[in-house]
Symmetry: C2
Subunit: 409 residues, 2 copies
């Protein structure tokens, strides 16, 4: 692994303070799963069973922790979450499942809970057997050390090639009470829907029952973690979990009392997802792709991802080249309906192509100046219908190749 | 455009001599379409109308020459082919179609043919208006200069970021006569099915009627030009044309007299397609991906392409890292049926993973030594059925980013 020397130039300038949420405490520790001299395990500990919702990778080769979480999720209650970096415990066969179960059982024992109340996530190298004992060995200490303001430390413990910890906090009124949302994420490469996280854990004290929590999470993920890509590669381990320590009072995701909470949750998840893109391996530019005029929302999203995943579009942005011909190429390759002779393309506010050809008024100098910015908006109208989509990605630089050409050594 | 300084390390050590084919002559000239001081237009001139077959990009935004060829193809006869490099005449609206028609009409006049007997192809920058006059201005000279042994010069004239001309020749018996096949291709980036050429022109004197020629070409393309990828990006301009100067005696592609010819054509097209991959932008390694044990041939090909297009797999090969965990990831993301716990993965003859986990006997030193080779074979058995597929790609290096980060400047 080529360790990043400094934070991404797209990193947030400062981190928010994460206010404590009643009923959940956090700890981080060093288990030397793979990395020495740093924290690589985190624990979230719930004083009472919390409601839990989850969205996972669509990979046909999911990791053992993903299998574990999927199996527990129908019960919808959590007492602990244990996540480690350095080893994904993926493609590790029966031994991997045993390791996951061993960590869950040891956590349950340390926390006075049942194993099915323990959620797991792992990120790192695929295919290497994981030594469960290393994680089990630190659990008692983590339980003892867990504290309400430990979430930032937990965010740091799950970093791999990340150059900064990803955290978010939000508040929303539910009736006359105020709910808090705190979230953390990690991810920098092998980022593509669906899911695109790699890992994201979100905590709230909102009084919502598990099925409603699941419905809210699935909907919100579609426009955040499932609308980002770094490199089109989908992890075996992508895991997004939402925990609520509040009483399960509201049972319907569409309850009007949740209007402000839904907006806050959407905004928080989008913020976290965009932080993952901003920390894309080697990224120097943050790219928003907007597609309009599509036949369906699904078509719009597929066209947007064809643009966002195109190595030629991404290298052009890296080269600060307003090469909209490659955007045309990407629209064409998406396989969705598009009217070539009605296509409009914008870089920011600059319309570079109109009605299927170069905009006669297009000022290349202005476009070149725009391309030097840190955030680039590419907007396309495909001239067919009215459906729209937005996705986010980053540029493709030599540093991406350098980081990934020597990951395991 | 960043001009390549030297041929790809994967280039053939020497070029074959292309024997003349009766009835077709070639010329190349300098029209300064975009590049100065080099040939950028080629002509193939048929003494009598030749039979023609074609396979084109599936892009929804095809170039004007692709539109032109598709419109003429149902007539199935050709007197001339004109191809230029430097400008793709794609996304150029009505002006682009007029430019294509102008070149076809001028060619027809110079050659004493009808415009519908003229085939066109263009490769280069997308979205820039093309000046038809530049090409028209050299047509008389090209017609006058056309000679039977001019095909290698034509191959050089259509190069863009290519570091070497791609040529192939083959012979096959049809009855008691011997047929010759000569082919040329260009392509180095924006290479993905379907098609994946960008441009390939194949000439033969085999006595085959146009519909049979089309059937042979479509079948052969599926396992050659539509089984390669450099960067997953599909050109607007991909064009594969097969011309026959022989009398149209054989009307059925399945005619037993064509058995040897079919094999020779398949081999020649595969050779040309693999040369395109060997010249992939920035390529240092040639990669063959073999998938077996899939539910259907289509599933096998999709899984193979998921591996071949994965930036993480390609950067691992660039880094000479036998990172088979990323192969697992790519199998998982393909979305096709795969039995995670039956998966076998080989690098060359080295089985690195067996039955869903690391092969206990796998020797990392041997795998590392294997990865230093110029050709890498990645083989996967997905444990579901019996269908297989093979595709070819190259590694992803910093040079790919360098070449494409500054193409237009």
């Amino acid at each position: 692994m080529t360790a990043p020397d400094s934070p991404s130039p797209l990193a947030p300038k400062k981190f928010p303070v994460l206010p404590p949420i009643a009923g959940v405490r956090f700890a981080a520790g060093a288990a030397a799963v793979r990395y020495a001299g740093r924290n690589d395990v985190m624990l979230a500990l719930f004083d009472q069973p919390a409601r839990v919702a989850g969205v996972f990778t669509r990979s046909k080769c999911p990791s053992a922790p993903v299998d574990w979480c999927r199996a527990q999720l129908p019960r919808g209650e959590a007492r602990a979450l244990v996540a480690n970096s350095g080893n994904a415990n993926a493609f590790t066969g029966a031994a991997g499942l045993s390791a996951a179960a061993a960590v869950a059982e040891a956590t349950a024992k340390a926390a006075g809970a049942a194993a099915h109340q323990v959620y797991l996530a792992s990120t790192g190298v695929i295919g290497e057997p994981i030594e469960a004992g290393r994680i089990v060995g630190v659990l008692d200490a983590l339980v003892a050390a867990a504290k309400p303001d430990g979430l930032m430390g937990a965010a740091r413990a799950i970093m791999t090639t990340d150059t900064f910890p990803k955290v978010v906090t939000a508040r929303a009124k539910i009736g006359d009470r105020e709910a808090t949302i705190n979230g953390i994420a990690k991810g920098a490469g092998m980022i593509a829907p669906d899911m695109a996280t790699m890992l994201a854990f979100v905590f709230t004290d909102a009084p919502i029952a598990a099925p409603a929590l699941q419905a809210l999470l699935a909907k919100s993920a579609a426009r955040s973690f499932n609308a980002i890509t770094v490199d089109s590669d989908t992890s075996t381990s992508d895991t997004l979990l939402l925990f609520s320590t509040g009483a399960p009072e509201i049972a319907d995701a569409a309850d009007p009392r949740l209007a402000a909470f839904r907006r806050a949750l959407d905004k928080a998840l989008l913020d976290l997802a965009q932080q993952v893109v901003r920390d894309g391996e080697g990224a120097r530019k943050f790219i928003e792709v907007r597609v309009g005029g599509a036949a369906t929302r699904r078509a719009a999203k597929r066209i947007a991802f064809a643009i966002a995943n195109s190595p030629l579009v991404k290298t052009a942005v890296a080269g600060e080249d307003a090469n909209w011909g490659r955007v045309v190429m990407a629209v064409g390759k998406a396989g969705e309906k598009a009217e070539r002779d009605k296509l409009d393309i914008f870089f920011g506010d600059i319309r570079v192509a109109h009605a299927g050809q170069r905009d006669p008024d297009y000022d290349e100098a202005a476009a070149s100046a725009y391309m030097r910015r840190g955030k680039i908006v590419i907007a396309v109208d495909v001239g067919v219908g009215t459906a729209t989509a937005k996705v986010w990605t980053c540029d493709l630089t030599k540093d991406y190749v350098a980081i990934n050409g020597d990951y395991r050594s």
